[in-house]
Symmetry: none
Subunit: 397 residues, 2 copies
Amino acid sequence: MDLTPLIQPADSKLLLLVLDGLGGYADAEHGTELEEATAPHLDALAAEGTSGLCEPVGPGITPGSGPGHLGLFGYDPEVFELGRGALSAAGLDVELRAGDVAARGNLCTIAPDGTIADRRAGRVPDDEARLVIDKLEAGVHIDGVEIVFRHEREHRCLVVLRGDGLDPHLGDTDPQQIGVAPLDPEPRTPEAKRTAEIVAELAGQARTLLADEPKANGLLLRGFDTHRELPQYADRYGLRAAAIAVYPMYRGIARLLGMDVLGAPTGLDDQLGILRDAWNDYDYFFFHHKGTDSAGEDGDRPRKIAAIEALDSIVPQLRDLGPDVIAVTGDHSTPSQMAAHSWHPVPTLVWSERCGRDSVEQFGERWCRHGDLGIRPMKDLMAFMLANAGRLQKYGA
Amino acid sequence: MDLTPLIQPADSKLLLLVLDGLGGYADAEHGTELEEATAPHLDALAAEGTSGLCEPVGPGITPGSGPGHLGLFGYDPEVFELGRGALSAAGLDVELRAGDVAARGNLCTIAPDGTIADRRAGRVPDDEARLVIDKLEAGVHIDGVEIVFRHEREHRCLVVLRGDGLDPHLGDTDPQQIGVAPLDPEPRTPEAKRTAEIVAELAGQARTLLADEPKANGLLLRGFDTHRELPQYADRYGLRAAAIAVYPMYRGIARLLGMDVLGAPTGLDDQLGILRDAWNDYDYFFFHHKGTDSAGEDGDRPRKIAAIEALDSIVPQLRDLGPDVIAVTGDHSTPSQMAAHSWHPVPTLVWSERCGRDSVEQFGERWCRHGDLGIRPMKDLMAFMLANAGRLQKYGA
């Protein structure tokens, strides 16, 4: 259902608490991390609210962070795409603009015979790589194109081309194997011909500039992509929306959807302060907590539980602000047993004056399973939040 | 969600146990057959795994065996079709080829005035019918077309036309009523004109050949159909798949999807032996148990329960083989109260190291209802099996 035609204004405030990678699974020894966490304030929200399990993308599908967040924001991840380039840029706080072409870059080692000896330049350390990227930033010049180089981690970087008439439809220069020469960037449409020439010129200049580097003497590019225009929160939902997140990627995703990204927090206390200061200026807040996912990815069960408890401890202050609707969920599951994202559905609660109390008294997968939200796609959460916020008109007469 | 782009290789082994017609319904006197069966090994799988109820085609829809199995294999039965001709052919171990046109035939009784006196030729007994079919096989000749006649049961047979330029778009010759003459096969497209002429000629020759038969002196054809190319398991899922089934129809369906059909088992013990021998050669095994459905169709509740218990008794040997993922379900329900296929959702469990344990301790409809798989379309089962087998990549970055 397209919600936009039903949107009506209201004074209500919505708060979406995202515990990244929240979900887990029970096994013979343990309940899930959330089930075993001591989280009295989340439990109170569940007891007063309505709970369920949400599938971020689809049954059995393990979501990346991009699709996971699109679902949270009510954008069907099978319809909308952030794109790898856009996500990389978002993760580096680089704002892609309409017409930009972005690619992911690998510093690599080219052998004397011109073939690739190492696609990752021996996983060159960050400080060394940064110097190499600075050299490219300073040295590469192509008429009529602005070129942004941004170091990510180790051998990885982002390259953005900015200028008129660029087109992302070209093949990778990275052959994804060693012992062969880098590929010429092949235009896949006539419109991409000039962009392919620019990329070839860029690769040539990089070779020259890096000729004396012991390891990182070449640059491979892949995944050419452009900025994709996504429907903006204000137009889609009539919401003045703000994001409060520590990590660049989530800040970037929020920005792509037209949210204001607030402050430069380094942790939950900062985030809480920023939320308080901005409370009167927005209708909707996306509050992102990374600790759960980081711990889950490390397979660190106690730390994941602690991260849940840390978020739990600030719930009273969040409630003191007087939100009309609170939703608590995750963008995907990161079971510490797997130390990775997974397909398991994500525990979810919606709390408001009018949400309806179900039988769930405690926040956790095994209880959510029996809550009134049921098992459903994550993209539907936004409709429940808006409905509870009095922001959706009746459908039909 | 199209799973194919997400498929990644893995060493895991998947085992799908299909108890044909497994599901049932509780009434004032009884629980379902599965609920009342003594099935400790299936219960253990449910206790260690995750359970739910699956709808093979859709809410309220009673599936035939074709759509029921397509759902089990992750092919949306509303999108993919086996076709009646293909199914009949599969059931008779006849392999339809590209360009073949198949139809279902009824031997019938034609009255002296040329109208149909009995559409089923008095349900002519098998041995008698077989002789009539042999007569047709030997006597019908049409230039440029190979014609295969295959007896099914009683008055029913399969007719396959093989040759160049055949087209299945023609109307039935069976008017589905008595007291009228058989219909001329009407071409529905210009391309089907020649095929219609061939079928008219075939019907005429049959009349002549069978003129002296006391009962089965005519042949009615319906459901003209051609071979349909279905995506093959290897391409769709990257799986080396094998089917171990007693009955031809299920063997045929598996073959249409590119599975290897193993051995010629006559019962569960044979099937188990074949599975053991082939264990190292395949990634995925479709293990089909017919007894549950046959008993259900006969309205024989104790026999259906016994068929469930028979399958249960070999579960330990199946587990000993070391599968990574086991799914247990049915292709549809066959409640013994109805003595027929039904729309009731089918109890389903998924067992693996990473499936997540839910609260279900016993395998049966009333418990599955509360399991973490929820109530969902059967076509989604394959995604869960693949996810649990580590064979699906993350979706998006």
